[in-house]
């Protein structure tokens, strides 16, 4: 990565790094637990966080090890042919890393995550557990069903906590989350320029933290970070501008390994990143619950949704907006929804003249060994195309 006078000491970035280093057992979370506040885990971007937040609970996203480690428990319980993400998460659970959770909420999004939920429940009983049925379509009927499911989650929570989740509370949570989405959008806009002030790996740190700490606090830090960046004069540039797509991935090391080879990651289509912050909840002409359910079902789609064209279009749009030279698709073995899309996505991107590098990885990989060879070759290929 070439840069001119990058001040690596961005205080707020460091704050986020600290959170990520100590997660799941971060100071903030342990403090909350001491004040016996509740902390819930959630499994997939189709889980409406606002509802949990509105109930006065801290929602944190369940993620696995940020290294490609042997999954002895994971493989013994989830068997060897479930994706290393769910195995990695379950193993952390079984090893007690998430022992503080008061609840677990998941959606019926993919076979891997729903079985992760099943086994988590079976072997690590959590006081509260809820599964939302998430339709795979965008039809009005689907919206109606998903809305019902969101209402059921709210009612289940109310009954479990024996309190009411008021519309006021919901509206408040929505505004907190929308602000967060707005700020993250600003952060991403900084990456559209030729010499972004922030690298892909750094952005990943920010997004990881956003799903692991109280949102209000996160928003404040991010606001300050944006101010810092504005005056930092940081400039990143690389041999090519890249987009990362595919399975769930939240390891900054992986992005760093790409950027150290000179490919600048300027955007992504990951459920831990873009698909997490994109699209605010629109409360103008809907009830809070309705607005929430619409946002979550209509959000930047996962490969599970039908038709996939909707996802492909947004990928192509992003590739255009961020002036992307190439796409790196990283797919975890046994991540069926994404693996199935490779033939179709490759075709769409080729038509748009954007080369794609399809990597098969294990969750948590730091992109070493053969992967880095492929990435370097891909970058060299992109260069010769440019000339």
């Amino acid at each position: 990565m070439t840069y001119s006078n990058v001040t690596d000491k961005l205080i707020n970035l460091e704050r986020f790094r600290i959170v990520n280093r100590s997660f799941p057992k971060t100071e903030e979370i342990l403090d909350l637990k001491r004040q016996d506040r509740k902390v819930f885990g959630w499994l997939c971007t189709y889980v409406p966080e606002e509802i949990i937040h509105a109930a006065g609970i801290l929602p944190v996203r369940i993620t696995g090890y940020t290294q490609e480690t042997e999954l002895d428990d994971g493989s013994a319980y989830l068997y060897i042919n479930n994706c290393s993400f769910s195995r990695s998460c379950l193993q952390m659970g079984l090893k007690g890393e998430y022992d503080y959770l008061d609840g677990l909420v998941a959606g019926s999004t993919c076979d891997g995550s729903r079985r992760l939920f099943d086994l988590w429940q079976h072997y690590l009983e959590v006081p509260f557990h809820h599964m939302l049925t998430v339709p795979r379509k965008y039809t009005e009927r689907a919206h109606k069903l998903y809305y019902e499911q969101v209402v059921m989650l709210k009612e289940h929570l109310e009954q479990h906590l024996d309190t009411e989740i008021t519309d006021e509370a919901l509206l408040k949570s929505i505004s907190v989350y929308n602000e967060s989405r707005e700020l993250l959008k600003k952060l991403y806009q900084l990456r559209m320029v030729d010499k972004p002030p922030i690298s892909g790996a750094e952005t990943m740190e920010v997004l990881n933290a956003s799903q692991r700490m109280p949102k209000e606090q996160f928003n404040q830090y991010l606001r300050e970070l944006l101010d810092e960046l504005a005056v930092s004069g940081n400039e990143y540039r690389g041999r090519s501008r890249l987009m990362v797509t595919g399975s769930v991935m939240n390891n900054p090391e992986f992005i760093r390994s790409i950027e150290e080879l000179g490919g600048l990651v300027v955007t992504d289509e990951l459920c831990t990143s873009t698909r997490y912050w994109s699209d605010p909840v629109d409360v103008d002409n809907h009830s809070p619950l309705e607005a929430i359910s619409r946002r979550y079902l209509n959000n930047f789609p996962c490969a599970r949704m039908v038709p996939s064209e909707r996802r492909f279009d947004r990928i192509l749009q992003m590739a255009h907006d961020y002036k992307v030279d190439g796409v790196i698709s990283q797919i975890i073995r046994y991540c069926v929804p994404y693996a199935h899309d490779i033939p179709l996505l490759t075709d769409r991107l080729e038509k748009a003249g954007i080369p794609i590098l399809a990597l098969d990885v294990e969750y948590g990989t730091s992109g070493s060994g053969q992967i880095s060879t492929r990435v370097q070759a891909f970058l060299e290929m992109l260069e010769t195309r440019k000339k």
Binding site: T2, S4, R237, R239, L261, A358, T373, M381, T384, R385
Partner: protein, 355 residues
């Protein structure tokens, strides 16, 4: 002028030394556990032939698994690019390359200049790689160099169920126990591997001419099987295992001399590393050899030369070419700190910097 490409593969380390267009030295040895040591041993071995020393070599490019740890290399380039470029030196007509190396197997598509246009690599499985054949070779207690010939002697090859290296091995053992001929076992394995290679190739779509590079391309039995499956006779280099190193050597020359392309008189000086492109480009067509740049450059890296048969033109001085990274801070920085510099000084606007 002498250039070297060094290819530290996962199993074997190779080096090639070229003088202009002629190969004057080459070597193939084992890759040891210490990368740097391996690199030194390899280059020493290669330099023995022509009897030269490191100082005689103008520029070195490294490739292969160990490419990042070659202390004396100017830069490193992935083996995929190098194989494409290397075979292009022998056969510019090659469009499809199957590189069968020690740990992985790659299908590469390249254009007339030997640039990679598409490639795929075997996924997280060693089936069908050199290492895999090694394992099989010692299961069959046959030297690796002989299994190719042996496979060709098959009377009736036996189908193999798996090419998972771990399980193919036990399957091979089982067959041996049942007294099946080694040649038949090998033929069966080669068939399984060839099918797998075919799939890789089809992923990048096969176009003539077709070639096989890497160590396994020396395995007659395998080559026969693959050409049978692909339906194309591969054009083979005299030593396919050296193609990666050769490609690196050609890159070395190109990087050092600058890419002169006939159509436009543009000449590039500089280098590119993991962090990006650093090229000073001089358009000899436009250059009127006024010499402004020579005096303008704070580091005096330019000079006016007259090659016989050519009119005088500005070039980057030979002495400066290798040290460009130290000497030239790039246009942005240079223009900010100095009033005049090469680019602003050039009235014909013949000089441009990539950074």
């Amino acid at each position: 002028m002498i250039f070297t490409g060094i290819d530290i593969g996962s199993r074997a380390a190779k080096a090639i030394i070229i003088d202009d267009d002629a190969i004057i030295g080459s070597t193939i040895g084992d890759t040891g556990p210490e990368s740097v040591k391996t690199a030194h041993m390899t280059i020493e071995a290669a330099m023995k032939g022509p009897g030269i020393s490191l100082d005689d070599i103008s520029y070195i490019v490294a490739t292969g698994y160990g490419r990042v740890l070659v202390p004396f290399a100017g830069e490193n380039i992935s083996e995929i690019s190098c194989h494409a470029r290397g075979i292009n030196w022998y056969y510019p007509s090659v469009r499809t390359i199957l590189d069968m190396g020690g740990q992985d197997c790659k299908a590469i598509r390249s254009d007339a200049e030997g640039h990679v246009t598409n490639f795929v690599m075997n996924d997280k499985c060693a089936g069908g790689t050199g290492r895999f054949l090694e394992m099989i070779a010692d299961v069959l207690e046959t030297p690796l160099s002989e299994i190719g010939e042996l496979a060709l002697q098959t009377a009736n090859e036996i189908p193999f169920n798996t090419i998972c290296a771990v399980f193919a091995k036990s399957e091979a053992l089982a067959h041996l126990r049942h007294g099946i001929a080694r040649s038949d076992i090998l033929a069966g394995l080669n068939d399984a591997i060839a099918v797998r290679c075919l799939t890789l190739l089809k992923k990048v779509s096969i176009e003539k001419d077709f070639t096989i590079t890497g160590g396994i391309a020396k395995n007659k039995g395998m080559v026969a099987k693959i050409s049978e499956k692909v339906g194309l006779e591969p054009v083979l280099a005299e030593d396919p295992q050296l193609i990666g190193a050769l490609g690196a050597a050609i890159y070395a020359r190109e990087r050092y001399l600058g890419k002169e392309s006939e159509d436009t008189g543009k000449v590039q000086y500089g280098y590119n590393d993991a962090t990006g492109d650093y090229y000073i480009t001089i358009d000899s067509e436009r250059c009127d050899s006024c010499g402004e740049c020579v005096s303008a450059c704070p580091e005096a890296i330019f000079e006016i030369v007259t090659e016989d048969g050519h009119r005088p033109k500005a070039v980057v001085a030979e002495s400066a070419r290798k040290r460009l990274s130290i000497l030239c801070p790039g246009y942005d920085s240079c223009s900010s700190s100095f009033k005049v510099n090469c680019r602003s000084a050039c009235s014909k606007d013949a000089i441009s910097l990539s950074w």
